[in-house]
Amino acid sequence: MRALLIRDLMLAIRAGGGFGLGLAFFLIVTVLVPFGVGPQTELLSRIAPGILWIGALLACLLSLDRILALDWEDGSLDLLATAPLPMEGIVTIKALAHWITTGLPLVLAAPVLGVLLSLPIPAYQWVVISLAVGTPALSVIGTFGAALTVGIKRGGLLMSLLVLPLYVPTLIFGAEVARRGAEGLTVQSPLLLLAGISFGVMALLPFASAAVLRINLR
């Protein structure tokens, strides 16, 4: 398992595109928003938590097809399927690698981009915390979507259609934590619900992803 994780991380770093692309996309989205809604500071600081969440979500989505598609094309997924590792373990590792290469940099970059959007000071910690708690869920759900569409040529658009509705609960609770944090309200209940969703999908969804992947490899 560790070997697979290290292999995936190495591939993401050395093959290029995987590591920085999501971050660059996140940056672009955050830069484009003020062009769209205007540069007023009050407006920006009000919508900043939501924008950061949407940006992180889209950046996550953009990199999903890299999780499995490349391994599917060159056949290494078939090799992995015949390996002694259970399929559930493989998809979990894939999701973890995706989170380390995409989710974690997004969490770290969010406060920097928050400056661009004049995020209110108390919101910084909650944006980071909510992203840190929520992005693993995005990776795990995304792995399910990637597994569903791995056999389809040019399935990227279809995958977005399938994955985005599944992101709704995570986005709602994550953005709610960030928004309440920005307004100085208590964040306990949405944060707990967000953590619940994260742990829930981490525990259960790999089984669905593995089942789907087995069907696709049949």
């Binding site: 389809i152 279809l158 709704v168 709602i172 609770f173 709610e176 619900l193 969703i197 089942a211 049949r218």
Partner: protein, 242 residues
């Protein structure tokens, strides 16, 4: 005589062929009588005026939108557990009908909301979760279309249906948390004192029965079509080989 006999496509088509004219007739009768009764022979509500009458389309279609997904869920489970092709095809057949019901519910709600709430759309939990349900329907249908191999498509869509159901319920409660509601609460609960008055209730019941029958008829018909289309494809493939 067991229920699983109908898993045989031939048996399914033969039985539904016999039943379908009856279901169509009953659905037509219920819908026409319910709608005519509701539209022309019930009083206007004293606050909502004649707009109250959209309830005869809005409530049944909203009910069917949710029940269609439940039916797809059950059919998907049957496909996963017992691998009856008719079941998978029935789930596929129900999806566009359910999506259409969702659109009808959303549209009639908007027509009612414009004069009553003063807005076509509000980010109310019920409205929002219906929109999300519609997105789920779209994704489900798109996945069916995208995969060429029939069995793979049936497997993948049924798992998507299971996972989607869980997330649909999660979203329903998440949006509740996210915004306060504008939509009124349940008016048809069986255990509550305050329901709508009987004048509106009986024609509404007839309309709901009509929509249920209409849904059954459409799903039967569409399932038959799917079975026949698949059979035709199999025949063509055999011709091609010979």
């Amino acid at each position: 005589m067991s229920l699983w006999e109908y898993a045989n496509p031939v048996k399914f088509i033969r039985t539904t062929d016999k039943v379908l004219p009856w279901v169509w007739t009953l659905a037509g009768l219920c819908l026409v009588s319910g709608l005519v009764w509701g539209f022309f022979f019930t009083p206007n509500d004293f606050r909502q005026g004649s707009t109250v009458k959209i309830i005869y389309i809005h409530v049944p279609s909203a009910l069917m939108a949710i029940n269609a997904w439940l039916m797809m869920l059950v059919a998907s489970l049957i496909w996963i557990v017992r691998r009856h092709h008719v079941s998978a095809l029935a789930a596929r057949a129900a999806a566009p009908v359910g999506a259409a019901m969702t659109v009808i519910a959303l549209a009639t709600g908007a027509f009612w909301g414009q004069p009553m709430w003063g807005t076509w759309w509000a980010w109310d939990p019920r409205l929002t979760s219906f929109l999300i349900l519609f997105l789920f329907y779209l994704g489900y249908m798109a996945l069916w279309e995208a995969i060429e191999d029939d069995d793979t498509a049936a497997d993948l869509t049924s798992i998507l249906c299971l996972v989607g159901s869980v997330f649909a319920i999660l979203s329903r409660y998440a949006v509740n948390f996210w915004n306060q509601g504008l939509h009124q609460g349940a008016t048809l609960s069986l255990d509550k004192e305050e329901n709508i008055s009987d004048v509106f209730w009986f024609p509404l019941l007839v309309c709901i029965a009509g929509f249920v029958l209409l849904f059954i008829a459409l799903v039967f018909l569409r399932t038959q079509t799917e079975i026949r289309a698949r059979r035709t494809r199999a025949l063509l493939a055999r011709e091609g080989q010979a």
